[in-house]
């Protein structure tokens, strides 16, 4: 247990001294997970809206599949993308394997189901009478959708935060697609995994604490945006 106290001490030390390698890894972690969240949001929310507002055959089945994908193991997504972007794969020409861009692509795919699925949930949670009210006040289809989105904004923000949480904390994709290359694709979770296998338990705890602090700060910012 002494490793935890030592870890807290090391975390404070790493933050106060602004350790350059640590700073770089932290910035890269934020860059990759925030980019994936952004792309997944830009694609996932409209897609979720589209699925929610359209009625079509097999809609329930589709929603079931999307919800099942919430629990897809990160290594499985990693493996799938690996086969795709490995030099021997279909997209091998793009040279995306072992690059931050490849990691963003893979994490975007990983958290997309969360964004789509929770958008559907959030929108279908808005009461039907709001839709009717908007329509009766003479709103066109776009204005109606906009009104419903506005009603559901807290739930939508929840989806974004959850997606971000999964992206920043996962290690399967980061290891398999990123390769944990020092100074290029190393992020906090893969550093924790490496330092643990090196026997530096206290340092791993320190890195874990730093990751939680980043998540806290980003969630605070997102909450401030939401409150306004």
């Amino acid at each position: 247990m002494s490793e935890i106290i030592e870890g807290i001490y090391q975390a404070i030390n790493l933050i106060l001294t602004l350790n350059p390698e640590m700073l770089e890894i932290t910035l890269r972690t934020i860059y990759i997970s925030l980019s994936s969240t952004l792309f997944a949001t830009i694609i996932g929310v409209p897609l979720g809206g589209l699925i929610n507002f359209k009625t079509f055959k097999g809609k329930r089945g589709l929603v079931n599949i999307i919800q099942t994908l919430y629990s897809v193991p990160t290594v499985l997504v990693g493996l799938f993308v690996f086969l795709l972007i490995s030099r021997a794969g279909i997209l091998g020409e793009l040279n995306l394997l072992f690059t931050p861009t490849g990691m963003i692509l893979c994490q975007t795919i990983l958290i997309m189901p969360i964004l789509v699925g929770f958008t559907i949930n959030a929108l279908s949670g808005v009461e039907k009478n709001i839709e009717d009210l908007a329509m009766s006040l003479g709103a066109n289809q776009f204005q109606t959708i906009y009104t419903i989105m506005k009603e559901a904004k807290y739930a939508l923000m929840g989806a974004v935060i959850l997606g971000f949480g999964r992206a920043i904390s996962e290690v399967g994709v980061a290891l398999l697609i990123g390769g944990n290359i020092r100074g290029f694709t190393r992020v906090i979770t893969t550093t924790i995994s490496l330092e643990t296998s090196r026997g530096n338990i206290a340092l791993s705890v320190a890195l874990g604490i730093i990751l939680m602090l980043i998540a806290l700060v980003i969630n605070l910012i997102l909450n401030i945006i939401q409150e306004k």
Binding site: E24, L27, R28, I30, Y31, L34, S35, L38, I42, S86, R87, A88, G89, G92, L97, F98, P100, Y146, K150, K153, G179, N180, I181, R182, G183, F184, L194, T196, S197, R198, G199, I201, I225, K228
Partner: protein
């Protein structure tokens, strides 16, 4: 909300673009990339970090990128063309890779010995034996008393696991019939560090490369019971990936790394590595140093 939402997204995009530009600009000096897939022991001990620094200082236009994985997956990266060179330690699979024409040449550059690790009270009494005798003794005692004597295996097809299986073969016992089915035989399916932690928790025996054990020693109550038995020899080899057969590998940079590893500068780094941190060397250079017993 619409305008604010747009503003937020724009701010996020600007921040991300800035971050991305900063990271790409600060991280990478070289314009030629050399992807090295390596077994975990070379990376976990920190040896490769030192080699990388010296190699990049010598060839500033080459950016050496190290991907550390088990020998199995490292070779797979090579076969798929995702790595330009592999640094591994499993002779049979290395020779397969050469036979398939994917690897150009085996270049042994360093060696050390695996250790047989166990609890300090040594419940199976294996101290002083050779590796095969010790394995038989662990099996016999384990079958008799599985609560007291256990063997923790990597069980992950890594180079270390392959060497362990080779020792079982040397005992004449059938690995899948007699060993794997034993109640005393535990397969962790994890890396060396995790396996050592499990061995420590269960106070069992295990086979470990010397580097990983020495970096973990302080965290465990385990001891080296057998070292330097002939069967425990562990040779690290560099194999460049053939660019004629596998798409777009950087064979020039790979050959330069081999040359560097075998140069007196590279061999000196290997020889001196570990003295500062562990008080002893972890690897013996194979070109300049003394040859191991019965080395072919």
């Amino acid at each position: 909300m619409n305008r604010k939402f747009l503003a937020t997204i724009i701010i996020v995009i600007v921040v991300l673009l800035g971050l991305g530009a900063y990271l790409y600009a600060s991280g990478q000096g070289g314009n030629e990339v050399l992807v090295v897939a390596t077994t975990t022991s070379l990376e976990d001990t920190g040896l490769l970090e030192e080699i990388e620094a010296a190699f990049e200082a010598k060839y500033p236009n080459i950016d050496m990128q190290v991907i550390s994985a088990g020998t199995g997956i490292a070779i797979e990266y090579g076969k798929r063309g995702d790595a330009d060179i592999v640094l591994v330690h499993d002779r049979e699979r290395e020779e397969e890779l050469i036979a398939e024409g994917i690897g150009t040449e085996r270049n042994p550059f360093a060696y050390n010995y695996f250790y047989i690790i166990g609890p300090s009270d040594d419940p199976a009494q294996i101290r002083g034996m050779n590796a095969a005798e010790a394995f038989i003794k662990i099996k016999d005692e384990g079958e008799e008393n599985p609560d007291l004597v256990e063997f923790i295996s990597r069980g992950d097809d890594s180079g270390t696991h392959a060497s362990e299986k080779k020792i079982w073969d040397a005992t004449g016992l059938d690995y899948s019939k007699t060993i794997q089915t034993g109640k005393w035989y535990v397969e962790s399916g994890k890396g060396m560090g995790d396996t050592l932690m499990i061995a420590n928790e269960r106070q069992g025996y295990t086979l470990s490369d010397s580097g990983t054990f020495l970096s973990f020693k302080a965290e465990t109550q385990l001891e080296i019971l057998i070292s330097e038995s002939e069967e425990l020899l562990n040779v690290y080899t560099a194999i460049p990936i053939n660019s004629n057969l596998v798409p777009d590998t950087n064979i020039d940079a790979a050959d330069k790394l081999v040359e560097f590893l075998l140069s007196s500068e590279g061999q000196k780094i290997i020889e001196d590595f570990g003295i500062e941190e562990y008080g002893q060397t972890l690897f013996t250079p194979l070109k300049n140093g003394p040859k191991p017993i019965n080395y072919i």
